[in-house]
Symmetry: C2
Subunit: 217 residues, 2 copies
DNA sequence: CGGTCACGATACAGAAACGTATCAGATACA
DNA sequence: TGTATCTGATACGTTTCTGTATCGTGACCG
């Protein structure tokens, strides 16, 4: 949104120094992840993030305009990286043929495995987005990107077992909802293996209900 | 947890004045809901809540030990009320016979309709609980209570259409996961009717996958 | 109806955080 | 290497919040 340290002259000019700046910016982003996961977004202060990153507030205000901006930037960067990694993993997985639906689901679950710290960030971001109208579009876009990433893999995998997706959009939305909903349970449930087991079962159920036998297979 | 305003004498004595105290306490609880929904739990201050409720901090510290305590008390009170209302609505609904699975789902969805403001509180609480170990048990208990409340209704309703639940625990967990996951989508999605439509479809899918035709029917 | 004590308002001191203005040192480029 | 520019540290004033201590008022009870 708002970029920190606007150009002094009325004419926009590209910054001259880049390397050092990029590094501090990145360290602040990394520190933000840790601090927000531990303290929560609302309870974290600019000072907290700076201390964790090993800087003072001068560095912060030189790179970001507000905590909100830092949070959004961090979330987008990490989401980007996760989606990229997931895409590669799925592509790699798609090359190996799968034997059964369960087999495909298991591989899929390996890719979207629940990461404790990151899911706390997701929860913080969800809460934050729900009361920040401007962020709803960002969340909706995330869902669309996930759909675009996951659907091709799943459709190919499903083709191997003779099934095809009925309603692609609805299927993708259902997967995201089930992922988010079960992730919380996996973190809260005292009996973690049980929660993961149920997660798997639910994914399987969704896949079965949103697909049908492919007559062309 | 910690109770505010411990008795001065070593011998516990029941408070003499009750009515006024109960009223201010309730107003603080109500104000907390509004403030936390708007500002977020982490960004809200004791002062914010007091101002909204029409009191000063003196009243607050006389009734609660911390914002955390207030948040938990408010959440538990509202959850209690919601569960009670849902229970009554379900009981009432169960008396009318249902014609089809879709019919039953629709009635069920009327009861668990997504309330914008309340779901923001849920999101705040989820994020808060994920980084507060002591609250995980509270969330797990909530799930158990929901299961105990919803399952009897659903089983009776399913009986009417000749189906029975296979794995009750897993079924209940799946319903909670789907509810939570789709609720966010309903609030974020620009096309709200579509999101609700998908929500309905997903619930239906879960019911179908976690039940089977009842041979005794 | 009068006495008593609980309740919440007020005042206070300290801490924490914010955002800015300034400056010394680092960095890129000629 | 010189120098213009950028970058992050430092210092500062302000605001906001916290928690406690104290006190007046009003509600309850005999």
């Amino acid at each position: 949104m708002t970029e920190a340290r606007q150009p002094q002259s009325s004419i926009a000019r590209p910054p001259r120094v880049t390397k050092r700046r990029a590094e501090t910016r990145q360290r602040l982003l990394d520190a933000a992840l840790e601090v927000f996961a531990e303290e929560g977004f609302g309870r974290a202060s600019v000072e907290d993030v700076c201390t964790r990153a090993g800087y003072t507030r001068g560095a912060f205000y030189s790179n970001f305009a507000s905590l909100d901006e830092l949070f959004l930037a961090m979330w987008e960067q990490r989401t980007e990286a996760l989606l990229r990694a997931a895409g590669e993993a799925l592509n790699e997985a798609a090359h190996r043929p799968i034997r059964s639906l369960e087999d495909g689901i298991d591989r899929f679950l390996e890719v979207v495995a629940v990461d404790d710290r990151w899911y706390r960030i997701e929860a913080e971001f969800t809460a934050h987005a729900l009361r920040t109208p401007g962020l709803r579009g960002v969340m909706a876009e995330r869902e669309a990107r996930i759909a675009g990433l996951v659907l091709p893999y799943l459709e190919r995998a499903l083709g191997h077992v003779g099934r095809r997706v009925v309603d692609r959009e609805a299927f993708a939305a259902a997967l995201v909802a089930v992922h988010d909903g079960t992730a919380v349970q996996c973190l809260v449930e005292p009996d973690a293996p049980l929660a993961h087991q149920r997660r798997r079962t639910l994914f399987l159920a969704v896949v079965e209900c949103y697909t049908e036998a492919d007559p062309d297979a």
